[in-house]
């Protein structure tokens, strides 16, 4: 083995990596917030929504959960322009991540809603709240609390999965790493650095989500 490891030159590419990190963080933030919102809406629709909406949401969820993320991304970026829906690589990447997390989030949040004791719905109803008000003010927060660890994991998975967006030339961290590697042919150092950065991002994200959990859910739920 006569490969000489050298990490010193990486400093020259730091701006490139930093930009990639920025894009990855942005994708995760937008994907996380909008994806969870979509997941909540879909979970509501599947459990408590009108009858005509349930099969539509179920079809969406199954479609996304049973196809590769990369294909979803390609379809949005390369396929949709055929229908006149043309968008840049970043909007396409954002959209793909929202749609993806929306479907997985839906199933996780649905479990949380379904575990709600019937008495909570009845208490809301007996106080004159509509079904949607009861869902929003009474059911949702404890339901999210029940599944928060699973939802947090899914958000981290989506963040890591965002590496795929480099394939449509969205300039995320993986794109930056590929770019550096193709310039320098120093694959080991480049991907080693990328690995460490992803690891750090994932750990920080998990801690942030845990902290967020502590603030949104002040009490442990009964049952």
């Amino acid at each position: 083995m006569n490969y000489a490891f050298d990490f010193g030159w990486l400093a020259d590419y730091w701006p490139v990596l930093l930009k990639g990190i920025g894009i990855t963080v942005e994708l995760t933030l937008v994907g996380g917030v909008l994806g969870v919102s979509l997941g909540i809406a879909c979970a509501w629709a599947r459990v408590l929504g009108p009858g005509w909406l349930k099969p539509i949401v179920a079809a969406y969820v199954e479609m996304i959960r049973n196809t590769p993320f990369l294909i979803q991304l390609f379809f949005i970026f390369f396929g949709l322009p055929a229908l006149g829906l043309r968008m840049g690589e970043l909007p396409a990447a954002n959209l793909a991540m929202v749609i993806n997390l929306g479907a997985y989030g839906c199933e996780i949040i649905r479990a949380g809603i379904q575990a709600t004791p019937r008495g909570q719905f009845e208490a809301g109803a007996s106080l004159g709240m509509s079904r949607i008000q009861t869902f929003w003010y009474v059911v949702l927060v404890p339901a999210l609390q029940r599944i928060w660890p699973a939802l947090s994991s899914q958000i981290v998975i989506v963040m890591l999965g965002s590496a795929a967006v480099s394939q449509i030339a969205a300039e995320d961290l993986t794109f930056a790493a590929n770019f550096i590697q193709s310039r320098t042919f120093r694959a080991f150092e480049t991907y080693f650095a990328a690995t460490l950065i992803y690891l750090a991002l994932a750990i920080v994200l998990r801690q942030l989500l845990r902290g967020l959990g502590w603030t949104i859910f002040p009490r442990r739920t009964a049952r």
Binding site: P117, G119, Q120, E122, A123, G124, A125, S126, L127, G128, M129, S130, R131, Q133, Y137, V138, V141, P142, Q145, F217, P218, R219, R220, T221, A222
Partner: protein, 242 residues
């Protein structure tokens, strides 16, 4: 006209007819105890009055308004009739105060400051003014049930339905809840309660309804129903041996 008119109400779950034509008229200020074996339909009757179960036949009206199963009519009904449950059903993610404030703000669109004043007043009324900021899991069962009562009262209902509200409580906590109910009764609140507290029913209630197999089997003032049961079923239920 009576405050609550229950006329020929029938309810079935599949093949099982739980209510087989119930007739009860409740006057304002009356305190009515509904007693009977489990499965006699007493909880179902109460749940029908609040629209938590739809009825298959007959009619229920509260203060002259017919109970209809659409969301608008149900909301109007539930603003008049509060309900308290065996399992308290407090909202676990909200403090006691917030539990009492929520429906005022969401349903009645009461401004927050006003809702807070009302919540404090109602918690005082059930003896829990100092627990405004406590979460349900920091309260005993008896305290939780009293918060639930305060929560129902904050909507200013004209009648309260109590569904076995002391059945889930430890024996030593039953009295603190019954004391609150007794006070409400003395203030003129109309109460319909499904209960197993016979002593309480005898002392506080104006009428006792004995339900048996989906029907009102006997009805009358407590001294009559308890001291002089007419049917063998009620005698057996009360454990009277002649």
């Amino acid at each position: 006209m009576s405050l609550i008119e229950i006329t020929e109400v029938k309810k079935r779950f599949g093949d099982n007819e739980v209510l087989k034509g119930i007739n009860i008229d409740v006057e304002p200020g009356e305190v009515i105890a509904i007693i009977g074996k489990s499965g006699s339909g007493k909880s179902t009757l109460l749940r029908c009055i609040n629209g938590l179960e739809t009825i298959d036949d007959g009619s229920i009206s509260v203060a002259g308004a017919q109970l209809l199963p659409d969301e608008l009519h149900l909301k109007a009904l539930r603003l008049k009739v509060g309900m308290i449950f065996q399992g308290f059903n407090l909202f676990p993610h909200l403090t006691a105060g917030r539990n009492v404030m929520l429906s005022q703000m969401v349903v009645k669109k009461t401004p927050k400051a006003e809702a807070e004043v009302m919540a404090k007043k109602m918690l005082e009324r059930v003896g829990l003014g100092h627990k405004f900021d406590a979460y349900p899991d920091q309260l005993s069962g008896g305290q939780q049930q009293r918060v639930a009562i305060a929560r129902a009262l904050a909507m200013q209902p004209i009648a309260l339905l109590c569904d076995e509200i002391t059945s889930a409580l430890d024996p030593e906590l039953v009295n603190e809840v019954l004391a609150v109910v007794k006070e409400l009764a003395s203030e003129g609140m109309t109460l319909l309660m499904v209960t197993h507290e016979m002593r309480f029913a005898r002392d506080v209630c104006s009428r006792v309804v004995f339900m048996h197999q989906g029907r009102v089997h006997e009805i009358g003032p407590p001294e009559e129903v308890f001291a002089n049961p007419k049917t063998p079923e009620l005698k057996q239920f009360l454990g009277v041996t002649h």
